[in-house]
């Protein structure tokens, strides 16, 4: 069977599965819709969290990014996993005990303030929409490359699928489809990685394989790759080029951002007990680590393969995949010195580089570059779609619950009935899907850059306020509101200045202390902590019932069973 038939078959089969699950797990109450009835097992929730968390960026782009960044890719590997330790130790169990439906719910009640609730709603919606636009785009790209339909048609198909299970099933439908999506995506990620590892090093475990001996040259693979890099004028693969301070700040921003992202936090409202919340974070990280420890191996295999298969190859003898990807514009060759051969070299080389490779190709084209069977290529397409759809659905739920629960039920129309709220939740989920689809079809030109907003904003807004809300009884409403507003403002202004207003100034010479816009969320977070703590000292202490509430969430017993 051809690549395209395999892709059709596997994508169609996986979509049928998702729809089947959606019909089986319809939501019948708001509790079902917002937190899946708080009856999800820790293991299933861990899997769902992993799928929710790992987006098109993790699946499609990350290994490619690492393969271009070498050591510096560690910012993503540690940054996007380390936050789970913070979640397990500092957030998840207490938020589960609190027993709310959304993040603004907690902020509003803990800080006894409608203003704080509304600030949190605005942050949650903004963070989620910036994030979701990229997901819908990812869906479109996978469709257009593998099924040769128009990118926009791809977005419509993706919207229809998400619409179906998010609107019908809410959190309950999303959770169980995410479990299936995790299985699809991890299988799709590991199969080519294992093939590659066997092919290059003879070791079936990719995590060990990339530290093993390269069978072609007989020396360690990393040593071989460092050698190739040196020959071609790239900096050493295992060393990297970013400043240590910047690596530190970016890693911290991503970690803390992870722990502050509302669509991740709410996943831990769905388990029955406090101790399940702790355990569930552990399972989530196990499932995430499976992909995240494989990614750097894929990066090394892909980098070596790419250099070996294109460097100094005459252009009229390039492999078939090269021509296919040239057609998408993600790969381009310009014969600057007119010798008819491809010079793929780094900044330190004496000749000019003639090949431009987009990061996203690495994972998607890897199976073709390595000459793997057609079904593996189709599988990668289904996996990429699973990653994008699962994350999109989780984000859309945050938006819909922020509108129907935090705005309608808790602010504007407190007398709304359960039935009315459920209908409102479905309508807002549907509307959110339409907005996300619109953003996917008409992406703002700066989509790639604004993803940094999502993490920076989450790090600078929610994280400090939630932590202090739990660990410091003295934290006041005034402190929290000023802290959130100043943290967000600083972070957003810095990112906007360097990516939207003056992109030409976006280099280390102009950054504060050499901290890139990606890492500024850490500074915003520190500012938020400082302001919240200081203002809290000089404002009247929280009312006794709020202090009691804090004492209540610190002990697990009586975590409000699923009624």
């Amino acid at each position: 069977m051809s690549v395209q038939s395999w892709t059709f078959l596997l994508v169609a089969a996986s979509f049928t599965l998702y729809i089947g699950i959606a019909i089986w797990s319809r939501a019948t109450s708001t509790k079902d819709f917002y937190v899946a009835g708080a009856g999800v097992s820790p293991l299933a929730n861990g899997m769902a969290t992993a799928a929710d968390w790992m987006s098109a960026a993790s699946f499609i782009s990350m290994a490619g990014l690492i393969s271009f960044m070498g050591y510096d890719g560690a910012v993503y590997l540690m940054g996007w996993t380390g936050g789970y330790v913070l979640l397990a130790l500092l957030l998840a169990p207490y938020l589960r005990k609190f027993g709310a439906f959304t993040v603004p719910d907690f902020v509003g009640d803990r800080y006894y303030s409608q203003t704080a609730r509304i600030v949190a709603v605005v942050c949650a919606i903004f963070i989620s929409f910036t994030y979701v636009a990229g997901q819908m785009r990812g869906v479109g790209v996978v469709f257009s490359r593998f099924l040769e339909v128009d990118v926009n048609v791809g977005v419509y198909i993706g919207m229809a699928i998400v619409f179906f299970y998010a609107v019908l099933g809410g959190m309950k439908g999303i959770t169980y489809t995410q479990v299936a999506q995790y299985c699809v995506l991890i299988f799709a990620y590991l199969v080519p990685a294992i093939f590659l590892s066997l092919l290059i090093t003879g070791n079936p475990v990719p995590q060990l394989g990339f530290g093993d001996v390269d069978q072609a040259s007989g020396i360690s693979l990393l040593e071989r790759l460092n050698g190739l890099h040196q020959e071609l004028g790239f900096s050493e693969y295992t060393s990297g080029t970013k400043s240590r301070l910047d690596v530190f700040f970016i890693t911290a921003a991503l970690m803390v951002g992870t722990a502050g992202l509302p669509h991740v936090i709410i996943r831990f409202y769905t388990v029955p007990r406090v101790r399940d919340a702790r355990l569930s974070v552990g399972w989530a990280l196990v499932f995430i680590a499976l992909l995240y420890t494989t990614a750097p191996a894929v990066a090394v295999f892909a980098r070596t393969n790419l250099i070996n298969s294109v460097s100094e190859v005459p252009y009229d003898q390039v492999p078939e995949w090269f021509t296919t990807w040239e057609g998408t514009g993600l790969l381009s060759f310009e014969d600057l010195n007119g010798d008819g051969r491809i010079q793929f070299v780094g900044p330190d080389a004496s000749t000019a580089n003639e090949l431009t490779v987009d990061n996203d190709i690495i994972v998607l084209a890897n199976p073709e570059i390595a000459g793997l069977p057609n079904w593996v290529i189709g599988l990668v397409a289904a996996g990429g779609l699973a990653a994008a759809l699962s994350t999109a659905a989780g984000l859309l739920l945050v938006v819909s619950s922020a509108v129907s629960h935090d705005l309608l039920k808790r602010s504007i129309m407190p007398e709304i009935t359960e039935r009315g709220e459920l209908i409102a939740a479905r309508i807002s989920a549907g509307a959110a899907v339409l907005v996300a689809g619109y953003l996917g079809i008409n992406p703002p030109g700066f989509v790639a850059q604004v993803v940094a907003f999502a993490f920076g904003l989450a790090a600078a807004s929610f994280f400090p306020v939630i932590i202090l809300g739990i660990f410091s009884k003295r934290t006041t409403r005034e402190g929290a509101i000023l802290g959130m507003v100043s943290g967000i403002t600083l972070t957003a202004a810095y990112i906007a200045y360097f990516t939207l207003i003056h992109p030409e100034l976006n280099n280390a010479d102009n950054w504060w202390f050499g901290i890139s816009p990606q890492g500024i969320g850490t500074v915003g977070m520190l500012l938020n902590f400082a302001i919240t703590l200081t203002v809290s000292r000089f404002t009247p202490e929280p009312p006794p019932e709020v202090q009691q509430l804090v004492e209540m969430i610190r002990v697990p017993k009586g975590a409000g069973a699923a009624h």
Binding site: M78, L222, S239, F248, R275, H563
Partner: protein
């Protein structure tokens, strides 16, 4: 919502001895969290970033991994997973010790 947090339906009553126990429970929890976060910081920011260059002069025995690079791209992640399960274990034990373990029939 299934419960009203403001009612203070905590796992302890108003009398002072249970209150003192809750304080002690919290103090122990903070100590565990503190210890585990030190390890969390050392393996990632310490080994993976700050001390990466000196560590890179050592190769992980039997492999081609420079040690600092390995921590940054593999080791730190394994330690993160282990830390969460250690915390789960410690807290489950603590919950039982303080009789704060949640009922099973939910």
């Amino acid at each position: 919502m299934s419960e009203q947090p403001s009612q203070g339906s905590a796992g302890y009553g108003p009398d002072s001895s249970t209150r003192a126990r809750a304080t002690e429970y919290w103090r122990r929890n903070i100590r565990y969290v503190g210890m585990l976060l030190v390890v969390w910081f050392v393996v990632s920011y310490g080994f993976g970033i700050i001390a990466v260059e000196p560590l890179d002069t050592v190769t992980v025995p039997g492999t081609g991994f420079p040690l600092g690079f390995w921590f940054a791209q593999q080791g730190a992640i394994y330690v993160f997973v282990a830390l969460i399960f250690v915390y789960v274990f410690l807290m489950n034990r603590l919950d039982r010790e303080f009789d704060l373990r949640e009922e099973d029939d939910v």
